[in-house]
Assembly symmetry: C2
Homo-oligomer: 606 residues x 2
Amino acid sequence: MLSYKAPITDMKFLFEDVFNYYDHYKQYPEFEEATPDLVDAIFQECAKFCENELLPINQSGDKEGCTFDNGKVTTPTGFKEAYQKYVDGGWQSLSHPVEHGGQGLPASLGMVKSEMMGTANWSWAMYPGLSHGAMDTVQLHGTEEQKQLYLTKLTEGTWTGTMCLTEPQCGTDLGQVKTKAELNDDGTFSISGTKIFISAGEHDLTENIVHIVLARLPNAPKGTRGISLFIVPKMQVDEQGNIGESNNVVCGSIEDKMGIKGSATAVLNFDGAKGVLIGKENKGLECMFTFMNTARVGTALQGICAAELAYQNSLIYAKERLSMRSLTGAKKPELVADPIIVHPDVRKMLMTQKAITEGGRAMIYYTAKIVDDIQMLKDDKERRKADNRLGFITPILKAFLTELGSESANHGLQIFGGHGFIKEWGMEQIVRDTRIATLYEGTTGIQALDLLGRKILLNRGKYLKHFTMEILSFCKDKSMISSNPHKRQMNQFIWPLSKAVAGWQKNTLSLSLKAKKNRDVVGSASVDYLMYSGYIVMAYFWAQMAQAAYEKLATDVENRDFYRAKIKTAEFYFQRMLPRTKSLATTMMADPKTLMQLDEELLSFL
Amino acid sequence: MLSYKAPITDMKFLFEDVFNYYDHYKQYPEFEEATPDLVDAIFQECAKFCENELLPINQSGDKEGCTFDNGKVTTPTGFKEAYQKYVDGGWQSLSHPVEHGGQGLPASLGMVKSEMMGTANWSWAMYPGLSHGAMDTVQLHGTEEQKQLYLTKLTEGTWTGTMCLTEPQCGTDLGQVKTKAELNDDGTFSISGTKIFISAGEHDLTENIVHIVLARLPNAPKGTRGISLFIVPKMQVDEQGNIGESNNVVCGSIEDKMGIKGSATAVLNFDGAKGVLIGKENKGLECMFTFMNTARVGTALQGICAAELAYQNSLIYAKERLSMRSLTGAKKPELVADPIIVHPDVRKMLMTQKAITEGGRAMIYYTAKIVDDIQMLKDDKERRKADNRLGFITPILKAFLTELGSESANHGLQIFGGHGFIKEWGMEQIVRDTRIATLYEGTTGIQALDLLGRKILLNRGKYLKHFTMEILSFCKDKSMISSNPHKRQMNQFIWPLSKAVAGWQKNTLSLSLKAKKNRDVVGSASVDYLMYSGYIVMAYFWAQMAQAAYEKLATDVENRDFYRAKIKTAEFYFQRMLPRTKSLATTMMADPKTLMQLDEELLSFL
């Protein structure tokens, strides 16, 4: 019963009017093909694929789930066929390098594709999605031979890839990894150990799966500095890429989960499986970190996907479901009752979903430009700068947008009333599916520590300063003292945004002083601080969208309603969502002792 | 894998030290048996039943669910046996009148029983739980003959009952009810129509089910003033109570739901089923309203049940799971990593769960005393006063505690990291099971309208005034100018509580003035206003618990750690949760136009 139409109008607004994507693409000769015409065509074709092929197998995939039998996993009906169409359409290769069979289009376009696919069917999108991590690893750290052997197949989509990090005793704390790698006479390694929570770890979509595995060499240093990275294919591969015999990687079971049931989460038992080292010995975690930000932004996307899908469907329901009369008098007296969209509280939930979806999309598309830059910039210093910008914004995107994705999905369910709890409508599935997003790729708590502890305090606020300078410069540019023709209207956004940024700076400084005296301040403040930061960052993007909308309204005769709606949603955001910072600013400053003073034995008296 | 121990220490603290339950019981001769000894024995026995019989079939009940075959519903394995033990133990009759086979104990004790049962297994507890609604209806509105025929069997638990309100086209808006009732020659009625979402509407636990059905007589006035109430048994019953033939009430299907899968949610097709009128013609909704508050408090309980179960289990996990080191240095250097409870953010989630659970329990137990009063007070005026107190607090309890129950369940899941998403641990089930609580018995939005629109504005703030006077009188009693020996320590609670209450009064007045100009203010502010009110109400109960704990610490040599933990949790609540009012106080005051100005057609451009 779920419906989905790709929000192409909004996507184009961001590409053309807010972020000037075509000027951005023109900077790089490699992107000369990424013209407005081609991009439009890609948007349209991708939307068609997602709406017609992926959406119809979303709810059925949840109902059917993956089945496990004696080491083999069967994906839900239709998943294999959709995957084949995806490969045939060349979608997997879209934004990968030409040398290994890619189309060489920008990563940012790949992000838009991922958004559409992930909204239509997140579970399905996990299979090609996980491959990107493996591809990036081989691309960045593999030898030319490894690239020839694995990257080409992965880029085509003939094979898929996985990332095998987690073990039963550790997820976040990878220093505890126990999986062993022992050198064989032929220079390969024998990998033995158990990996869990391996998304797309086993399935029937492709003839082979390329596992990227964290393991420990004999006598490697303890902890995170003794971990190396290996390529371990499910089926052995000869030098020509022909598939040989099975490689002692056995799927022991798949998890029975709350959601994303169409995505197989495998327990993989490596029993002397043959692998090759990728990157340097004991540098496995560093190799992983090189593209961890991109992977996390890819997970942030899940928040937006859930928010969009929930919003589209609850909006339809809110217009159709008749219940009670408006408090200001009947709006549809000819009907037995008014549609529930007349009720302010239903509107509040819808507007919240809209603000989250569109604000979050803007945050992602802004960040996607930085991802393009990192891949394209030739100058080391420039690239490092871009990398630091990405590193700063990533934990905010990942944690804030996935938390808000859950909120939006829950509003969607709530708008349906009791029907939201019934599977048939699909709304509860969105809540279940997106609940994983605040857990994997680093929980919200881990992202928050990364933001406050590493990205801010460890760097003495440098990257925060760069980012707040960018916002303040925008504020100045659009403010009453500027030549901005829309400065009067923009005042309602510029003033509270400037004030919020000033508070952000002040509060961060204050936290950094406190943290010097007591390290527990960091963990005690971190999640509230991250959410607080997220609301301010999203306000910046709502202000940018409002400015762009005013500009278009002044010149454009088309889509005027769209621009007006943008501005009114920005008003909603500033009056109804940005004030959430007030409570967070208070609670994040509270003394850590309120958390730590109670001895753990006194937390319960049963 | 879920574990549960009834928190009897906390329950007794509330009964004895905070709310003086035994003085309360002594007011009523009917409650003379409710001595500390008997109450303790009931707590112990009930805990045993819940821990040993109900908990073990909680996760298996979710996995197996109810099965439907040709009109028959089979409950999950073990449900029927547990129900028989429950009936044999006399639990169903605990707090029902002696005249019809009850034990005549206070309703408040029934509430404690419901809490334990609902925490151990909410799905199972739905079956006896729904009976209480039917019992209250027959008790309050039935003829003596109806009571003899139905109430005795319901009180024994030999039969169960349901409430049949919702239809496909309406849930909240009961004026749209279409089910028809036509008078037969023998004075009975033929009921025809479809009811949906009927909890315990069909099952295999008892030989008969007594449906209480809202239906419309021919020529009844339109809307809510034309609805009457009927008793419609699943199996016909002769005058001696013997079961005769089937009564044309057919279960058409059961819903496939997000959670509470062990509880059958039935579609019931009434096809000329024989029923009797209960209460007066066209007064059906009024009859229902007489005990709606109690039913809603019973649903509020689900928030606490979810919070408690999630807290108990995440606390165990947080002490066992080893990951990373404390930021202030290794706490368990002998282990491979520290248990995650050392991390402030994990603590924050645990303390939030603890504050919700214990604060919510205090709110419920306070309210349960009022429920006792309403049932026992002979004086009409006094009873009406108690009823109005209950009416004021009920929507806050229902919406605020069920929303916070979901929050606590989600923290519990989050503490488990990726494992929280896996069914085996049971944490995701708590999230799914409790998600219904903000929907049924009136959604959060409906409770919020009831609070602000009816209970406050319609009554010109009278009941709010009574309640805030009670809080302020407590504040005065315990403040620096009083003879309270603990006034110095209590200052940290009394001052912010008084300030919060002053804000509550001021903001309510301000909203009432705005609402006079624009009725949309009510719906626009309502949910934020309810949550805002909830945090202040909960602060009042945390302050009371802190005061009681200080008193006990001054006199008692036992349980000192328990009282200290109480006070520290109160400190946590005041510093980390009460400040949530800051944002809510801002957003609830925002202009309704931020919600309403966008034409509904402009909410989407697809």
